[in-house]
Homo-oligomer: 302 residues x 4
């Protein structure tokens, strides 16, 4: 260990990780969360919210491409897309790569965070916030969905984990997922980031899947490995009609070409099916998920 | 971070990781390496060699099943198998699950390590060392291969990374791989563990693949995520004739059933193809591998 | 930072310290506390109770000589001594160096700890437990004092800090100090270890002194630096009649010689006065101490 | 351990210390050294040079008062003072408190550091750099002494430890101390900070004293405890004629009053003698010091 500045994170009280920090771009508290933006020799720029790593330059494309493209490619003709959370702007960036998307609404509760990301992490949004197709709303996602009369083809949830009194506790419940369902068009799809899929702590992932099962007919959990998290990471795709597992390699290739999606670093047609292939221990774990409700939401503890 | 005992590892000088340790089973130096065996609340029992994590109870089956079964399943009728390294006995354990394997030779340089693992980590070998089919040899793997007149159907290399003056430096070179090739039967296969496949440090992985390409016609790199390493981990399968990518799901199922391979926790037929599916950044990285030779071997530095 | 095993301690939530550990002699819980005994390259053998460092080979003599000799030397003719706590046996060892002490009673609540120290830390007691003058009692010190009809010349308190529900909470209160007073002969003296005297966290030290002031006419706080604690450390000497500040250098020399006290590594006559000399910030801090009572005892928090 | 930003220091390869950091004021490299200025919840503002702690708000007054006042008080009539190093300006601040000092020259090699301290650590200099009596020179102290024709009453050396190729290697040698001697008036005094006096690593302290013995007739090593260093810290006072041990309490009081020295937080007349009182292990250690020369200087290693 060189001497110097490190950012220390805990994992479950039984492991700590220290990342060397070269530069502090920003540290401060917005109305909603503690924001830290650093430069690190191993990961490049890195964002922490409430002291938990959110995104790092070295592999944010793995995360954001894995979150966005499987669900968008599975929809045959996505035009109206809603992004919940995703303050860094990278989820937006990936959605906008699909040229036939004509409108992306993004609802984030934390205006100051979005501004900080635009200032310090422009590599994430790559100008996405200036795209004419983007409709940016600051506010509570749940209220937005309830009040909105628009219908969407795809909704992408890119939220922080539901920590005690945090802003996303009630955005992972059956009640909310029902509102999501109502806000989707007939062939609509929903995807959310769903936490770690490591062999010990994948109950949040399992519970997201179990809860979505109560609302949607087709549920497809999938995973990627996130180097900067030091963890395998889970997503759940929920669908009214289209099934990502039925998409042929050739069809994906054609859709990507027609929509002008190119220069990706992680997602590609040949990887699509592999993402959804889970090992036995995870499939077993998924069965143990609990249905999350407004009365019994998931509260993430260290 | 609770107060107490932790084992600290470095990664590339830019990251440290501390794992809480409940119990010290063993610490000491054999003739070849520094051995530490602990109990940890997060990973269960865990083995460190030369202060680098080798194997942990929580996911050693992911590692050993991923190392052994793809290559053995790809061989249509494996009878004679050679294991290089693998002192914990878990590689042996997985090989022995294939009932038609009639003989497994295992060469490990470190007799004391094998004894320590039998004493403190019996969960790894599960009695494998007592199996009548096992032929255990203590010595240098390279000399064993050179001196041996036996031919093998499958050779499995489960070695530590090649650190300066360590015992495995010359077991990852073109010269050694040629000897492996000569020691294999006509339809023989070889597999090795090949280090991290993370986005920054996958040059060892790439170089293993590149070097094997000089010797074998079919090279199939693949990966899994190792929670206890905090990293995605690479393997390279090299083959004279059989291609793991041509194996149909149904054929794998049948082979596993005929051979009596069951109760696996990680590998299964439906996962087989997904293991070999790499993302664009890794495929690009593989192209940059260097051919490793006795004159220019790979030396792992922190 | 070398890779390997470290013991991590926190200080006030704002600092952590990791000590390299070579060997684990013992880890386990007695009826009263968590005990850890290690070997470390920097400090030699080291004892932790409830995960807080208690004593290390490199400077335990500084601590124990500083605790015992000032108070014993100040008493003109100490014969009956009581030690409260001090399970390692080093306090006993120092008391026994005064040849005219004819009887030392020691009350420690934790019989198993005393046994562990005898087994793993014999350098601390140096055979003291076998001295004919020693009368060892296992039990609660407060009850012992209440029940005892003996009177003592000197009482030495060598207790752990009063943590929540820990065994020493009610051994630092006015009520207990009054019982100490009653158990002392007319010219008796009392000394206790009283925690850190660092510029931030010396309130326990100050409160021990303030509480003793309610009971004894002469109160003399003093300090030493403890390398293994990384802190300056405080003691408070309380006296019915004799004042350590009035002892001349020559008188101390003579008393030490007459009593056969020799081969000390830290305490000596020329150092006696210096120990009691505190800087302005500590003298100011002492004024802010609170009187500790059974109703409002001191509870040490991290 | 809370999650967040920490500064990690090593001690001798066997101990690490992490200090929580709230704010980064500055990080960068001057021509001579790596400079880091932070705010920390435990120590307040804190300065690191070449990744080693130099000074912290919580106890910089202990350090600077201990460095300056014993030597200045020992001189009966100090008017011309030279400060070597001391870029933060706090040594200057303390010297200037002696009203009869009419001129203070300060030589520091690192102009940028002095500027950074004025900007970020104004609490250290408290306006000292603007005092009319101050004569500030940027350059090598050794060359300054050689070239200077001035004579001084007191010289105060406040340098970083002599690390490999660092700027202070040849400012702790017999040759340099001879030049110091020549630059002092007949009754001149010299003092230097001399590193840790902990029980293991006090050889630098001992060697400073031993080397000064070759040049000056009166050598008085002394120490204080530095909470922010986690260590006891040593200084050596060297004198041509006046002996600090012969100063009576009353005389010190009078000198301080006549010179207008007041509002100190650490040094006071009653503490003067205690500072110079060392325990047996340190006195024994002092005997083992080596004479440092330009050919065999001291090189500080981790």
């Amino acid at each position: 260990m060189d001497e110097g500045l490190y950012f220390f994170e805990q994992f479950s009280g039984h492991m700590v990780r220290g990342i060397k920090i070269d530069k502090v771009y920003y540290q401060g508290k917005t109305e909603y969360q503690w924001v830290q933006i650093f430069d690190s020799p191993l990961f490049g720029k890195v964002l922490f919210l409430d002291r938990k790593i959110q995104s790092a330059q070295i592999d944010e494309r793995t995360y954001h491409e894995a979150l966005v493209h499987p669900v968008l490619i599975t929809h045959p003709f996505p035009q109206d897309v809603l992004v919940i959370g995703g303050g860094e702007g990278a989820t937006l960036r990936e959605v906008l790569k699909h040229e036939l998307v004509s409108r992306v609404s993004m609802v984030d509760i934390d205006q100051e965070l979005v501004k900080l990301c635009q200032e310090h992490l422009p590599e994430w949004s790559e100008g996405a916030f200036s795209d004419q197709r983007v409709h940016l709303v600051f506010g509570d996602a749940r209220r937005f969905i309830e009040d909105s009369k628009d219908k969407f083809d795809v909704i992408v949830s890119d939220l922080t984990e539901p920590i005690e009194k945090g802003p996303s506790v009630y955005l992972f419940t059956e009640e909310f997922f029902k509102k999501i369902d109502q806000a989707l068009n007939q062939d609509g799809l929903f995807v959310l980031q769903a936490g770690s899929t490591d062999p010990v702590y994948h109950d949040f992932f399992a519970s997201c899947a179990k809860t979505l099962e109560k609302v949607f007919p087709i549920i497809r959990p999938y995973w990627v490995h996130m180097f900067s998290f030091g963890l395998p990471w889970g997503f759940v795709l929920a669908s009214k009609k289209e099934d990502p597992l039925e998409l042929e390699h050739e069809e994906i290739l054609q859709r990507m070409e027609r929509r002008g999606v190119k220069n990706l670093q992680f997602y590609e047609s040949s990887l699509h099916q592999a993402l959804f292939t889970l090992p036995p221990y995870l499939k077993a774990g998924l069965k143990k998920g609990k249905v999350l409700t407004d009365k019994k939401p998931y509260i993430w503890t260290l």
